[in-house]
Symmetry: C2
């Protein structure tokens, strides 16, 4: 799709040449994120602004010409939330990637949206500080994308999700006006919490151009334990015992047998392949070995066949790396995958995994599961051959059936990956007609012309 000449002319009045891409081969490469089964249109133009004023110019132009705008970070999203729509302006924020401030007394960082998560983490780490949210994609994904999806990660069981670390935002609205929300302070309750409203709004309410993020002091390095189980049920039982026992692990992750094998196949990690479920628990406390011993005993009580604490930090890192590889490794099994993101109350984790196994059998599919088990947040990953129409259909159906099961168990269709285009109908099912009506009302307030990331969420 080529852009209307008027659109390009108008954009160029306040944007340098290099920041506007129009070659269809190039713009096509910005069409979608990493989700399967999500429609994506052809962008008219891709814009890569470097300043707030440039973003304002884009939005003013888009409003005047009624052109849809799709904000993008690194496009690692897993719900199609960053997918282009036909004729849209893709507004990629990746060039706005400066860390503007790190303040150890106030424990905040001020950043532009294009900063890579891992880059920020390392920068604050150098000052003894810690930015907890750590999606497994952290070496690629941007803070703007993390805010757009309200993303989670491995640390959430102790440190919570992105939303809890966003104190204030600068947002360019649909009409180009600049809104400042929130604060630089530790607390603040002046009016409705607009900051939080933007977190997880998937680019549908405004363009985040600056964020004030809360930091924590860097905890001691975590030590990881691996526990092997002869069934996922036993592993889930261990998770319940650990949480009920009042422990506060810095990580509590589960990989089922399919996942373990996939990771070994991809990276020769030497994980124990005979086990049905591998549980990883970690502590970043002053005495992690003592905590791991207590948790190890609970695993044994729940039926663990083997409990192996990491010897040192290097071994711990290796186990984390294995966990972080899970989604990529599962995708490699059959070339394509649909990654679900159902979160249930952790007491229902066992029921969800049992049901998922039943669904895999019913549809004759391989569904590997890795999970942020301590949070009850699972990623059942349907592995399929996209060339095989029947298998693709079954993949899609099983994916939906897992969400239905999650809702039945008192859970949500998405713990951290968001709704995007992938789960639009499911959002309506989860939040109901009253919820949808109010959410549409909010959208209408912020974006009356509906030009911001249309076709997502609802």
């Amino acid at each position: 799709m080529t852009a209307a000449p008027d659109l390009l002319k108008r954009l160029r009045t306040a944007l340098p040449d290099g920041s506007i891409l129009t070659d269809p081969d190039v713009t096509a490469s910005y069409a979608h994120d990493m989700a399967s089964f999500c429609e994506a249109g052809a962008p008219a133009v891709v814009v890569l602004p470097r300043t707030v004023e440039e973003v304002q110019h884009v939005m003013r132009t888009a409003t005047e010409l009624r052109v849809p705008v799709v904000p993008q970070g690194a496009r690692t999203g897993l719900s199609g939330a960053a997918n282009a729509s036909d004729g849209c302006i893709v507004l990629s924020l990746v060039k706005m990637d400066r860390i503007l401030e790190i303040n150890p007394v106030d424990r905040i960082a001020v950043v532009e949206p294009g900063v890579i998560n891992a880059v920020l983490s390392r920068a604050v780490g150098e000052q003894g500080l810690y930015y907890p949210p750590d999606p497994s994609s952290w070496e690629m994904c941007t803070i703007g994308g993390n805010i757009g999806t309200a993303s989670g990660g491995l640390c959430c069981v102790k440190y919570g999700v992105t939303a809890e670390y966003v104190l204030g935002l600068d947002v360019v609205l649909a009409d180009g006006r600049l809104l400042k929300t929130g604060r630089r302070t530790a607390k603040g309750v002046a009016g409705y919490d607009l900051t939080r409203l933007f977190v997880g709004s998937e680019g549908s309410l405004g363009i985040v151009v600056r964020a004030v993020l809360a930091l924590k002091p860097q905890p001691p390095q975590q030590l990881v334990l691996a526990a092997e189980f002869a069934s996922t049920a036993a592993a889930c039982d261990a998770v319940c015992r650990i949480m009920e026992g009042g422990h506060v692990p810095s990580l509590l992750e589960l990989m089922d047998r399919t996942t373990v094998r996939a990771v070994n196949d991809m990276a020769q990690m030497g994980l124990p392949e005979t086990t049905e479920a591998l549980l990883l628990a970690a502590f970043d406390t002053p005495d992690p070995a003592a905590d791991l011993a207590a948790v190890g005993a609970l695993c044994t009580a729940a039926g663990a066949t083997e409990v192996v604490p990491a010897e040192d930090h290097a071994e711990s890192e290796l186990l984390l790396q294995a966990r972080r590889l899970s989604l990529t490794a599962l995708e490699a099994i059959k070339g394509s995958s649909m990654i679900d993101d159902v979160c249930v109350p952790r007491s229902q984790l066992g029921a969800l995994l049992e049901g998922t196994a039943r669904i895999a059998e019913k549809y004759s599919l391989t569904i590997g599961v890795c999970a942020h088990a301590g949070d009850g947040n699972t990623h059942p990953t349907v592995c399929f051959d996209a060339q095989d129409p029947d298998e693709s259909r079954r993949a899609r159906e099983s994916f939906d059936e897992i969400m239905a099961l999650g809702l039945e168990l008192g859970g949500t269709i998405t713990g951290e990956h968001g709704v995007g285009v992938l789960k639009k109908e499911w959002l309506a099912r989860e939040i109901g007609p009253v919820g949808v009506e109010l959410q549409r009302g909010i959208k209408q307030t912020f974006d009356p012309l509906g030009i911001l990331n249309p076709g997502k969420l609802f």
Copy 2:
């Protein structure tokens, strides 16, 4: 003000007799919360529902007859947010006070809005769990009120504010429909975060009738240290050093000399009266004595004249009690007080206190300060004689000047007490015209007739 006969007749069709109060002497006692200088009207009727259906009936009736509704908890608020307007229905939720569920595996509690904060805290404590938000009014205030104001407390420096513990809500909307927001799960990102929008909305968007709250495991009992300083500047310097040093106190509070003396006068606490500022720090870590030693050394380095760790839990509790008495004791000095709630980046705490002292001098007033120092959240409390019109005027002016100073220092006009009627104009000043416009749009979406707690916030 007496209610229109039609209103009473309609209310009575679905509410038991005892739940409707119409005696003007009685209804007048529901007119206002604990804030000074806030207009309050005369309610037409006070309703005390016991069920969700009764609340729905009230709201449907109010919508049909276009009668304003003012939700109330325990009316301990400090901004007039629960004040009646003329002819309104006061909807007091205090009879809906059941704890419906406490779940140690999922670490959640499900409660009705009228549950008293301390009652919940004790109930979960019995199961080894912890509900952190602890406003000093905790023995009186309700969870519904805490959600309405997004209240804070002493624990926030480590555990955060009420907002971080509200996972899901049942809300009766202005027209009587029931909305369910959020979740029972640890994580969830399905759509805009309506749950968070209600937290701190001061009863202006809907009536909270049920809440799912996150719990933590109960930490070890905290141990408190008291440090005396010859100036508030030195005490603030100590606060910065402690936070910059990467410590995570479970409490970091400041009382200035006026506050210390007021507390001694009221309760003979034996606090050190010669000191200019008393800093209380606490840790609930495995080895609190070691942490207190480290923090004590930082206090000494910042110029503390005396550093006294509590001997045991009883002594710690006594110090906390002294801190919790501060606002009440300051009010007693001259019979009336205006309690400000300015929060600044903690690096600006010294500047705020210095400026507050200057303002007190300029207006010849006694302004005592207690503060959640670790959060930069101060309560400069103007003590005045309400019978003295000139002093009252000066009190009001100094109060505003402190807010202006807070904004200048990059802070907010309210860290935890909210806007209510007290700070309406100041809210507009803080969030600006674009912010006000969007907030009004949200209000319009939820309450198109404007019957919910009118005259508050904007």
